[in-house]
């Protein structure tokens, strides 16, 4: 196999210098001449009818240039999902009703933020309060207030059902009858949030040609363009979403949001640029957080631990609109069925409307909560059967070559090896279960394992990534890609691919990225398909450029194109030193001999090429992804038995990501996910009371800081490889590795203390309560 020079290497970030010197421009940094500042007025009530809005006093305030409310819009609803079953359900500015505290009611553009803020105080909104409901199980009851009275919903005996997913195979009842042991448990996830450091921010500038230019802190410009154009009633081509650096997203910046719409609408109205930057408090109070999920899990196993049947009921508190709630209940099915072979499964997932802010995906999108449930119960079952946790996982693990129930193939599954190697590296079999030997010690150690799996790209608008690789006169290369680097390193790995295919250095490549006008379409940085889908599009474009270069060079060098190699911006004949021409010469020759062709390579790629659409969110039928990443993670914790404090000491991640295009970036992704898992499992929670957010700052909502650093170890299980001239398969590394780790932490806490906490986060008081209960009922 040909040795690779760039792909597979720990190349430093392409944007490293710009970011290290403070020169990288984020949306919050963007300024345009004549720019106005926008602010948004939000509902103070969780559920209310809007009787009247009087904006006249605000409009008269000196410095105010425009005020918009619902009736100034086209009244087009939007949704994270827009299908016949799940039609759009949310206005970008409330029309006649508000359904959560923080819902957008009006927006103002003024000469500065202070005037805009003052104008908000002058808008008079008359509300009539309506009964509200906040807990999803309360909202499902027949007596609960109806949150969307006139909206088509899924027909159910329960109330407020925004979406339902049902799936399964075999016969679970028979399976439970045949089982040696059946366990039923309920696990509750908490509301947690992304904490991207750059707040939500947008700059919109409507120009005199009728085009709307938008910079926004997002996870991909194409979906923003589509939704902005649709809701503003503009042709797609009249909306241009451009690149700015993005200060973190983690799932929280995908969908179209009201501030983006309002900045655009205000800019159209006043014909000046309008910028809206949300405050941190606004982000905590009204931006979309993650999905809090309840999991009811019933599992039957044979005496040897083999899974026989599993019944899963998931309830998601989606907030006042669907958001990604109907996706997460589909995904939770997937995160059940991927890791283990389950002969009989019954799955139902409900997404329930409540009078809370809307929810978004957050790194793992359901997987962390689901794996927390399955993996916790797996350890309990193993203990009851007297089987080692590693053994029960190996016995049930998904195997290479398995065909999933939806007909996807896991042709390259490295899960067994992940489990074995993670166990070996942590001496799991020797160390686990030594609680008794630590009796009397204040600080006890424990370790636990969790496994998970994540899909790598699926079919969601825009369904494709394309790329252009242009040769320049000086022999350098320009890559045009729609991919957006949100910190994950998209531009870096795409340049590595170009460098590899064309034999140029990383410094020889200029990137033009994430601009709906000048760059080709891209799937976006939110469907875990960047490395696979966008990477293959770029590979094809680079390889097309090389083919053209070699055609020209072959004539000049009187050789076969197959005998040529490209290196250091030169094309030479294999084995004949000195017989070569430079890229510059080849480009010049192409222009001369091929009617001005300057050499432009094109590429495109779509996952699951013959499959028309995403699988059904209602039934899960249909193919979902070409590739699935797998991991086994081990957490080592120390628990203070007097205070209940848990310290995550060490995290080991054995993972099958296909192959790493850039090991340094993959490590960074793992570290970040371990850190997020630490916060998720141990302390993060957005606290709410009657629809009001109580945790509105980083002081109230603690995320890991430097002192919480976790020693992180990585084990690459390689199941795929990169070869020139053929599409490659690789897998995602950006969001699957939160899940195994949150589960591993929960299991490690149990190993140390004997306390099984089934609600996240695992706060010290829960451990102390558990210890007290154990003391009070001695066996």
């Amino acid at each position: 196999m040909e040795e690779l020079s760039y792909v597979g290497k720990s190349v430093p970030r392409k944007d490293g210098v710009e970011k290290a010197t403070g020169r990288a421009l984020y949306t919050v940094d963007m300024v345009l001449p004549g720019m106005l500042w926008g602010k948004i007025l939000r509902s103070p009530y969780p559920h209310a009818r809007i009787l009247n809005i009087d904006t006249s006093r605000a409009e008269r305030l000196p410095g105010v240039k425009a005020v918009v409310i619902g009736k100034d819009t086209l009244g087009i609803k939007h949704g994270f999902v827009e299908t016949p079953r799940y039609p759009p359900d949310q206005y970008l500015l409330a029309m006649d009703r508000v359904r959560y505290i923080g819902e957008e009611v009006a927006a103002v553009a003024a000469i500065d933020e202070y005037v805009a803020e003052e104008a908000l105080n002058l808008i008079q909104v008359d509300y009539e309060e309506l009964p509200a409901v906040f807990d999803p199980e309360e909202a499902m009851k027949p007596e609960a207030p109806e949150i969307h009275p006139s909206h088509p919903k899924v027909k159910e005996p329960y109330k407020n059902i925004g979406g339902k997913t049902e799936s399964g195979w075999g016969n679970v009842e028979k399976g439970f009858d045949k089982s040696y042991l059946v366990r039923e448990d309920r696990f509750e996830g908490q509301l947690r949030t992304h904490c991207y450091m750059e707040p939500q921010a947008t700059l919109a500038s409507f120009d005199l040609s009728g085009k709307l230019n938008v910079w926004t802190s997002s996870q991909g410009p194409f979906i923003k363009r589509a939704k902005l154009a649709t809701t503003l009633g503009l042709p797609f081509s009249n909306v241009r979403v451009l690149k700015a650096y993005v200060g973190g997203a983690y799932g929280g910046k995908i969908d179209l949001f009201s501030h983006e719409f309002c900045a655009s609408l205000l800019s159209i109205k006043v014909q000046r640029p309008v910028k809206i930057v949300c405050t941190r408090e606004e982000v905590f109070e009204s931006a979309r957080h993650g999905q809090p999920i309840l999991v009811e899990l019933k599992t039957g196993v044979k005496k040897d631990g083999t899974l026989v049947a599993q019944q899963v009921r998931v309830i998601n508190n989606s907030g006042a609109y669907r958001g990604s709630g109907v996706v997460v209940i589909f995904l939770c099915w997937g995160f059940v069925m991927l890791c283990y072979r389950i002969p009989n499964l019954k799955y139902e997932g409900y997404s329930v409307y409540t009078n809370n802010p809307v929810r978004a995906p957050q790194r793992g999108h359901g997987a962390p909560n689901l794996r927390f449930a399955v993996e916790s119960q797996m350890d309990t079952i193993a203990e009851e059967l007297g089987i080692h946790p590693v053994e029960i996982r190996l016995k049930n693990a998904r195997q290479k070559g398995d065909i999933l129930p939806n007909e996807d193939s896991v042709r390259n599954c490295g899960l067994v090896e992940c489990i074995e190697r993670a166990a070996e590296a942590t001496r799991f079999k020797e160390i686990y279960g030594k609680r008794k030997s630590q009796e009397g010690q204040r600080i006890r150690r424990g370790l636990g394992m969790g496994v998970s799996s994540y899909f790598s790209g699926s079919l969601i608008y825009p369904n494709t990534s394309a790329a252009i690789v242009k040769l320049n006169d000086d022999g350098t290369v320009s890559l045009l890609t729609g991919a957006l680097d949100i910190g994950q390193g998209a531009e870096t790995i795409l340049c590595q691919i170009v460098a590899e295919e064309l034999g140029v250095s990383m410094d020889d490549i200029r990137v033009v990225a994430a601009d709906t006008e000048t760059t080709p379409v891209d799937i976006g940085a939110w469907i875990s398909g960047g490395a696979y889908v966008s990477g293959n599009a770029v590979k094809m474009a680079a390889s097309d450029a090389r083919r053209q270069l070699f055609e020209v060079a072959a004539q000049k060098l009187e050789a076969n194109p197959e005998d040529l190699i490209a290196k250091n911006r030169e094309i030479s004949v294999k084995g004949i030193p000195g017989r070569s021409i430079s890229f510059t010469q080849a480009v010049a020759a192409s222009i001369t001999k091929r009617r001005g062709n300057p050499i432009i390579g094109q590429g495109h790629f779509r996952t699951m090429k013959d499959i028309p659409a995403h699988p059904s969110l209602a039934t899960t039928k249909g193919r979902w992804s070409d590739n699935y990443a797998f991991d086994a993670q081990v957490a080592e914790v120390e628990v203070d038995m007097e205070t209940g404090q848990v310290k995550l000491v060490k995290a080991t991640t054995a993972h099958d990501c296909g192959f790493p295009i850039n090991p340094l970036l993959v490590e960074g992704q793992i570290d970040g996910q371990v850190s997020m898992a630490q916060g998720h499992a141990l302390w993060e929670e957005v606290l709410m009371k009657k629809g009001k957010t109580l945790t509105t700052s980083f002081l109230d909502y603690k995320i890991p800081c430097a002192k919480d650093l976790v020693e992180s170890h990585y084990i690459d299980v390689i199941t795929e490889r990169y070869e020139k001239d053929t599409p490659y398969r690789t897998k995602e590394v950006g969001e699957g590795y939160v899940s195994g780790m949150v589960a591993a932490i929960a299991n490690a806490v149990y190993d140390a203390t004997g306390v099984r906490v089934k609600t996240f986060p695992i706060l010290p008081e829960k451990i102390l309560m558990g210890l007290k209960e154990k003391r009070n009922k001695p066996r």
Binding site: G247, G487, Q488, L699, A706
Partner: protein, 156 residues
Amino acid sequence: MKKQLIELRVNGESFELAVEPQKTLLEVVREDLGLTGAKEACGTGECGACTVLIDGKPILSCLTLAIEAQGKKITTIEGLAKNGDLHPLQKAFIRYGAIQCGYCTSGMILNAKSILDENPKPSRDEILKGLEGNLCRCTGYNKILEAVMAASTGED
């Protein structure tokens, strides 16, 4: 409020500015001087993204009034590279993968600089303690620690 005329020394240059007395140093360096490397992520002194150095010490520029910074030596991230040559910490952050989204990077590097200026050979725990006030949601701090350790050993 009525503007005041002040003089700020930023990255070795002097600037005469008319600023409202309630304006923060962060607002002035970003809006008046165009030095947007310092970032606002919370605006209330909880995250460290707005860190700049005043007389070599890290301060939260979102909680500091611009008028208080008169007569002092202010260093922002833009002032760290000398003649196009990156500071060893900037190089180490790039080389060790300590940057992802980059939003916390300016504050993180400046704070790390003040740690190393005060104690050229800090221990692992001293570095982590020193960086406690700079939140990063991307990296888990592992690569940041490696980068600061590398810079402290004189790696350039």
